[in-house]
Amino acid sequence: MAAHTETVASGNGRSAVVVAAAIAGIALAGAVLARWEAGVVWSVALAAAAYAAALALAGGPTDQGAPLVAAGLVVAAEVGQWAVELARPAAVDRGIAPRRAASILLLAAAGAAVGSALLLVSHAAAGGLVLTAAGLVAAAAAMVLVTRLARSA
């Protein structure tokens, strides 16, 4: 993640972005060692923020590696939380770990596929006020859906 962020970043704030990405990696390792589940998520959020900052500083064409970065972030977050769980002494039955690993990889692959599809759609569609408004409505709708699902669960 940090390496890809470094390749994407350019301009004045490049070094700050790279440092932020590196800190995110260290924070992730620290959160795992400290068995801090929320810390894992915040470390991934910091890495995502560093990548977003790198994109903003670089400008220019769309980064085609973004879906892979997204898959990497999901894998890092999920594996980090798995590691936190494993730090507690527990006897785990056979078959559970491979299934969990498979579900994480499947989720990352599906997420990357959806991300790629969204990038393709964004290339095909022309920009403008209408599309921006539609994006805002879609974002708000997505948040409402997530909130309702969380409440019903």
């Binding site: 929320a38 980064d63 973004a66 527990a90 006897a91 290339h123 997505a142 669960a153």
Partner: protein
């Protein structure tokens, strides 16, 4: 089961929102691609989450063990629907140790699964164990469902049996058959003497060899074997300990060893716990009494009380006449010290095992601390000599000797014991 949102639910939702709004604000579609897996995870994870229904049935409701034993606490889980992952975590009370306190397993629908935890019994006592927490995360772990199972397994851990080779003999015995060869003459195995035959003597008692030699019938006389009453008088007013052990700990272990040993020799054994709470087990014999006493011993604890107590509060039946009373006490509490003097004054056959608190106390530093330590030791020695002057053997038991060694010293002092009133 109660639902508990995982830490990642809020984190992923905030990340998703930040990335989507960031994509719109910065006009960077890559950020939407970055948010896509998290959105997918949230949507699928939350939509597929269904509260599970898991029934748990404990394996057994009572377990008996000896210190150091390993017992298995089992439970059977049954789920109405398949669960990809469920964590069962047990909570052991202090005194019991669980090597691996959690188990993660899969559950098929209506297919019972057995969960077993190996528990090491570290210290004697009565425990309520088997409390568990079931934690079943949703399909992608966004919501966890938890269920607490209260502790319902009664675990009774008895003190580890200690070897006692020889016991102090009671000064007086009973009419019941036992292992002590008495001084009186009657039916028994131990030869006592010969005497001329008198009408009423049984033919089997006739010593034909002696009768032939003396030209007159002579019969053998024997010492009968009798049993005795033994009362273990435990001091539960105070406990001096250092976390790894204490005087109550030693007292209970010694009492358990003595009770087992005396009951093996067919004596009637009773117990009196003299402390903030008065507890007793009436003297009796047999295997049932062993468990009665052990069950009583493992419930021994110090209950703080400042109320004055003396031997008048002890029911008369718990201290039968002619019983050997073995007191186990650190001699720290004035009520216990007075009670022992009272017992001796009533003519009770008494011996005191002084469970020394010295190994559990850190010697104070400095001149004043050193002086206080020496004064305390002198007071203890003075007290022991006062008891000895009353005819009560007092043997100090530190952590450097076994119960057997202490009992050997008591036996030596009591070799010619007689009960007298003072």
């Amino acid at each position: 089961m109660t639902s508990v949102p995982a830490a990642k639910l809020r984190g992923y939702a905030l990340l998703l929102a930040a990335l989507v709004w960031g994509a719109i604000a910065l006009h960077r579609p890559e950020l939407v691609a970055l948010a896509a897996p998290f959105g997918l995870l949230l949507a699928v994870g939350l939509a597929a989450t269904v509260p599970p229904s898991v029934a748990i049935e404990p394996g057994e409701d009572e377990v008996r063990a000896i210190e150091g034993d390993e017992i298995a606490l089992a439970a059977t889980l049954t789920s109405a629907e398949p669960l990809g992952r469920i964590t069962v975590e047990t909570h052991a009370p202090p005194g019991l140790r669980v090597a691996v306190p959690a188990r993660v397993l899969r559950l098929e629908a209506e297919d019972p699964a057995d969960v077993t935890f190996d528990v090491e019994c570290g210290r004697w006592g009565g425990y309520l164990a088997g409390g568990m927490t079931l934690r079943a995360p949703g399909p992608l772990g966004l919501i966890a469902f938890e269920q607490a199972v209260p502790a319902g397994v009664r675990v009774r851990v008895y003190p580890r049996p200690e070897e006692v080779r020889a016991l102090p003999k009671p000064a007086a015995t009973h009419a019941g058959a036992g292992n002590y060869v008495t001084r009186i003459r009657g039916e028994g195995l131990e030869f006592a003497d010969l005497r001329p035959h008198v009408p009423g003597d049984r033919l089997r008692q006739v010593n034909w060899r002696v009768s032939a030699r003396r030209n007159r019938l002579h019969v053998n006389e024997y010492h009968p074997e009798r049993n005795a009453d033994v009362v273990l008088f435990l001091d539960s007013f105070t406990d001096t300990g250092d976390g790894t052990g204490g005087t109550i700990d030693l007292t209970v272990r010694a009492a358990a060893a003595l009770a087992r040993a005396y009951l093996r020799t067919r004596d009637r054994v009773g117990i009196v716990g003299f402390g903030g709470v008065l507890r007793w087990v009436l003297p009796s014999a047999g295997m049932t009494q062993t468990y009665r006493i052990l069950d009583s011993l493992i419930d021994t604890q110090v209950v703080a009380s400042y109320a004055w107590r003396d031997v008048a509060v002890i029911p008369a039946r718990t201290l039968p006449p002619n019983a050997l009373v073995l007191a186990l006490s650190p001699l720290s509490d004035a009520r216990m010290r007075t009670a022992l003097v009272d017992l001796r004054a009533r003519g009770v056959d008494l011996a005191v095992i002084d469970v020394s608190p010295l190994p559990f106390v850190t010697r104070p530093r400095g001149d004043l601390g050193d002086l206080a330590w020496r004064v305390w030791r002198l007071q203890r020695e003075q007290l022991a000599s006062e008891y000895r002057a009353m005819g009560v053997p007092v043997v100090e038991w530190g952590d450097d000797r076994t119960v057997d060694e202490v009992l050997a010293q008591i036996r030596e002092v009591r070799r010619y014991a007689r009960t007298v009133r003072i």
